[in-house]
Symmetry: C2
């Protein structure tokens, strides 16, 4: 049996956590030696690998599993595309300016920070909670609202809670009103702020040498899917539903990003656009996820100022109309499964429905996967039903029909009254009015056409032009006839269900959920990343860099490579214990020690990161076992059945245990 581990012996310490990520170069502020730029981060080797592994798993879970069509479209986009999509007019946040310094703040974040600080101060004043200085506050010059122990009136405190629950639902004018009513000032300067103004979040540039072709960096990859819809449909042999998928960089010129990887100006997204028949949003594989239980926070609860979670199966949620349709429900469940698979704590994952005003301009229903972390609940995946919005507007603008043409099994036969003109007489009799008359009659609904038909049968009829003239028509010019129409093709604009993943946010929250400190030593941090996403799967640790270990290290390394297991050798000039500690911080799940006994007897020890258990076996047994562990074929408990406990008394062990 594996040893048990207590991962919650120490409370989460953000300072220690961030120091670890920085020390091991998971990521770092970009252009750090130039003083950095807010909202831009570089990923170092372990961060890059972690991201690449999350992406690889995403590809398997979504693209390969569901036969999605992958795309790779450009970031630079001519402005006409975003004018049509509505982003030029509406992809914006409300900002306020400090009336004295001119500093710019995001209006909703300002309200949130100030009210949360007041509520925290209130709690302290009531003796409910102490206002512990957060890790951030310890840093010098840290800006933001500070909690001060001041008791609030009961009604005021309650009003603040309601405002916070509805924060995403306010307009710019609402936010301005809130600032005035609740005396919300810039906490950095204590100055008043001006009226909220819209700031467009797209980075602008210009394409070509003449400066005459404005462009934007895409704020999402979605438009690249929509513009290629006809080609994708053709590639899929004209069949719907199908999905396209794309992983790529997007850009948002955030007003004042301050939340590390959680709010950045440049980020990697993974987006799926699933195209469906608007009259049939059922999903073929819905039965496979029907019983997946989710934590849901629906729109009505929030609009009433609450934040109670309901636990229910996705089947129930769709049956009760809480989630709009099966396809949306299917993807919400698949998102849940993906996040759990890569190591997100299910207890800290909820799906929150957007409120009316909060929804993007194109969406008809939207659920965010929110992951809890040290800053609260953070949206990490959006799952929206964009309806036919995008395909419709691009069709209209370009005249290129982005539609599905479906051959009907049984043609639809309809009859209707139709105007038949004698073109020669029409022109001769009515001259310049001929066109006016045609337009008028052809726009008529059936009852009016029947009136004309009746009157024509009596000899003549009259129609009224828009400018008020009455014109007489006779049967030698016009007849109304009943005709049969057979429609064998149905043409429609598909709807789009869009799961959209912010990979940086997922990566960051995953790192938080994975971090803990050893019970016996709070300074020894560990990242319990699951093998599927861990940057390195196996660390090979020779006792030293001496030549006698080289052949075996080489052998183990190449056998692991052939088995598809990514390993690294650490032969640096420091103790085995220190090397393992370093790799606990890097999230490496398994370690293999190569020592004198390995060279003599061809045995190796296998170490598990979380328990620090060590087992022993022959070279090939250990390689086979660790391969099974990495691919999730067996658990560590099962590995312990295969390999006996290692309780050797060599120097190796002493160093390690210390």
């Amino acid at each position: 049996m594996a040893s048990t581990v207590n991962k919650t012996a120490h409370p989460f310490d953000k300072t220690q956590f961030e120091a670890l990520l920085n020390r091991r170069f998971f990521y770092a502020p970009a252009f750090e030696i130039y003083g950095g730029v807010a909202g831009l981060y570089d990923y170092g080797p372990p961060g890059s690998s972690l991201q690449a592994n999350i992406i690889a798993e995403w590809r398997k879970h979504f693209i390969i599993e569901e036969h999605m069509l992958e795309l790779d479209t450009t970031i630079m986009t001519p402005s006409s595309v975003f004018e049509t999509s509505g982003h030029v007019a509406r992809f914006a946040d409300w900002m306020v300016k400090d009336t004295k310094t001119g500093d710019v703040l995001r209006a909703d974040h300002l309200v949130k920070n100030v009210l949360e600080a007041r509520l925290a101060g209130d709690k302290e004043a009531r003796g409910i909670a102490a206002v512990a200085p957060s890790a951030d506050d310890k840093k010098k010059k840290k800006k933001g609202a500070k909690a001060v122990a001041v008791k609030l009136e009961d009604e005021v405190a309650q009003e603040y809670e309601v405002i916070l629950a509805q924060l995403d639902n306010y307009t710019g004018a609402d936010l301005g009103e809130l600032c005035r009513k609740h005396n919300i000032k810039n906490p950095d300067t204590d100055n008043e702020v001006g009226e909220p103004q819209l700031f467009n979040l797209m980075f602008a540039s210009s394409i070509g040498p003449t400066g005459q072709h404005p462009g934007y960096l895409r704020p999402e990859t979605a438009q690249g899917h929509f513009l290629n819809f006809s080609r994708l449909l053709e590639f899929n042999n004209g069949r719907v539903p199908f999905a396209s998928a794309q992983i790529g960089r997007s850009f948002r010129n955030e007003i004042s990003p301050r939340a590390g990887l959680l709010r950045v100006r440049e980020f990697t997204m993974a987006e799926i656009e699933h195209f469906v028949d608007p009259t049939d949003k059922s999903h073929e594989r819905f039965s496979e996820v029907r019983d997946v239980t989710l934590a849901l926070l629906n729109r009505h609860v929030q609009e009433a100022g609450g934040s109670q979670i309901t636990h229910m199966s996705v089947g129930e949620a769709v049956d009760q109309g809480i989630i709009a349709n099966e396809t949306l429900g299917y993807f919400v469940a698949r998102i849940y499964q993906f996040l759990i698979k890569i190591g997100i704590n299910p207890e800290r994952l909820r799906f929150r429905q957007h409120m009316g005003n909060e929804m993007a301009h194109y969406a008809t229903d939207c659920w965010d996967a929110e992951i809890h972390n040290s800053t609260g609940w953070t949206e990490c995946v959006g799952c929206a039903d964009r309806a036919a919005y995008d395909l419709s507007v691009h069709s209209q603008k370009t005249g290129h029909p982005l539609v599905v043409r479906q051959a009907l099994k049984e043609p639809i036969v309809t009859e209707k009254e139709v105007a038949e003109w004698n073109k020669k007489n029409l022109g001769k009799t009515y001259k310049q009015d001929a066109g006016v008359l045609q337009k008028l009659v052809e726009a008529m609904e059936e009852p009016e056409l029947l009136r004309l038909k009746g009157e024509l049968a009596q000899g003549s009829t009259t129609v009224k032009t828009d400018d008020g003239r009455e014109i007489q028509l006779t049967p030698d010019v016009l007849s109304i006839e009943r005709k049969t129409f057979k429609q064998s093709i149905r043409e429609y604009i598909p709807n789009v269900i869009e799961p959209s993943f912010g990979l940086g946010r997922i990566l960051y929250t995953l790192l938080e959920h994975s971090f803990w400190s050893r019970e016996q030593d709070v300074e020894r941090g560990v990242l319990s990343l699951p093998p599927v996403v861990a940057p390195t799967k196996v660390l090979i640790v020779p006792l030293s860099a001496r030549d006698e270990f080289a052949p075996l290290v080489q052998e183990v390394s190449s056998k692991l490579r052939r088995a598809g297991v990514f390993s690294r050798v650490d032969d640096s000039n420091t103790s085995i214990g220190k090397r393992y500690s370093r790799n606990d911080e890097l999230g490496t799940p398994f370690g293999i020690t190569v020592d004198f006994a390995s060279v003599q007897n061809r045995t190796m020890t296998l170490r598990e990161r979380d328990t620090t258990d060590q087992r022993i076996g022959s070279v090939d047994e250990v390689i086979a076992t660790v391969t099974d562990l990495v691919f999730g074929n067996i658990t560590w408990d099962e590995a312990c059945v295969r390999l006996p406990k290692y309780d050797g008394v060599q120097a190796v062990e002493y160093i390690f245990i210390s």
Copy 2:
């Protein structure tokens, strides 16, 4: 034995080739329904997969094989970084304006197009070659220089050849002079062009809401490596040499891109920065590539107006000083091996050395891997020795030392004469001159210090200030003493060898090299992509979409997935022959047919794309064989030994052979 195939029965037809890529959505002009934007392309499903597979192989060949440190840095970059790196001042092309229309042309391309057209016309006039209208010319409105059959004087023709060979070596003034001297006009309008002006190729933008922070989209990923050098070095435990690697998007605002994927404004690059000791550019693994034979076009040949290739081993090239050092040579050879592995024709690959003026501002030696294609020779990989340029300028600008500190095995012991001051007497005696004196003496070289020492031993000495005064010094103020210094750390700025890959250009030339038409039917195009990069490895073709085939299709598909082989099912409603033809165009190397015999006898046929040979075996035999084929463990000839020829007479076969 496998059948033989004649891939050169038909000449390369670019129109047919491009039609295939477009029809199968390898890539397409971005924003096509909006009229497109020059130099921006989207990759569809097969193009995305091909690119992803090239990247995966690149990761294996370089990053994993050489334990490189992978990075993922931002695209958006504050202008200060590119001011330091020299890109703001120098990353530019020469453009000329049509004096009447204001149209903008790239100066060197203008010269090239016009002179090449004149030479082609000359050849035709001499009866050496017919000027066949190129595929491009057939399109309406196609712009560019047209060849007209006009004979040139021998000396003129020769002069043109020399100009073309040296084209990359001209300055802006040179290009302007060439246009005047040779009467080069805008071929689209026949108007004269103005003086060449520099146009910076970086896309500009602005970071944050105030508009006060100018930024650029990176034109290369390299700066992201350099700025993180200290962190990378620390991650590598302080050891040099090591390499970082990054795969990502870069942007260049090309003046007038017209060459499809070969000259684009947004592209995916893969870059390696290999950091080495400037005093030791040997490479540990050079012996492994010493015998790789390369086609080299060196600087001297080009500067003499020639373009003769020399075939020699990389070992010889380094020994003879043609390639500057072992590390540069090592990477040139590794680049060669990579390109051949993914399917580039070695006969159409050469390494061209940059000429003096052509080299980027940071480089000391540079070799381009040029791949031949329908437009001529195209640079696809650059391999430059950037020396210490970038790290030095960033160090200088930021004050952050980007250096290696190497512990010396044997400390270097040196002795030198040192000035020792009696600070108290110095201040008292010389007051405001004290500082001046100190500076003067401390800047002295050893011989002068020895003069002072000698004179002080006699009682006093004099020094001359910059403003001409002579000041006397005595032993109570200054003594000169011989001291021993021990240096145990050597500090240096490493040099950088940079292999830089343009993945879009590699992808495009690979597609050209892979394309051919069936001998018996020129309309049947095939892409002979090697399995390692083919978008789909195995096509599973059930006789029809009927339910009876579904379980076996499912079984084969999931067994292949478990074996790590990416397959697709094509059960579309068309003949098996048509489905295979479609997948020949997609470059799918193997096909498995599931028919009634498969369901009854559990046998399947295996088809090879190039030969269209079909073999037969049991379900598991075929799966095992195709897996070995895909991973390159066996050749098709070897597969033919395992599986007997299929010469069934079922309908399947007839459809296929037709």
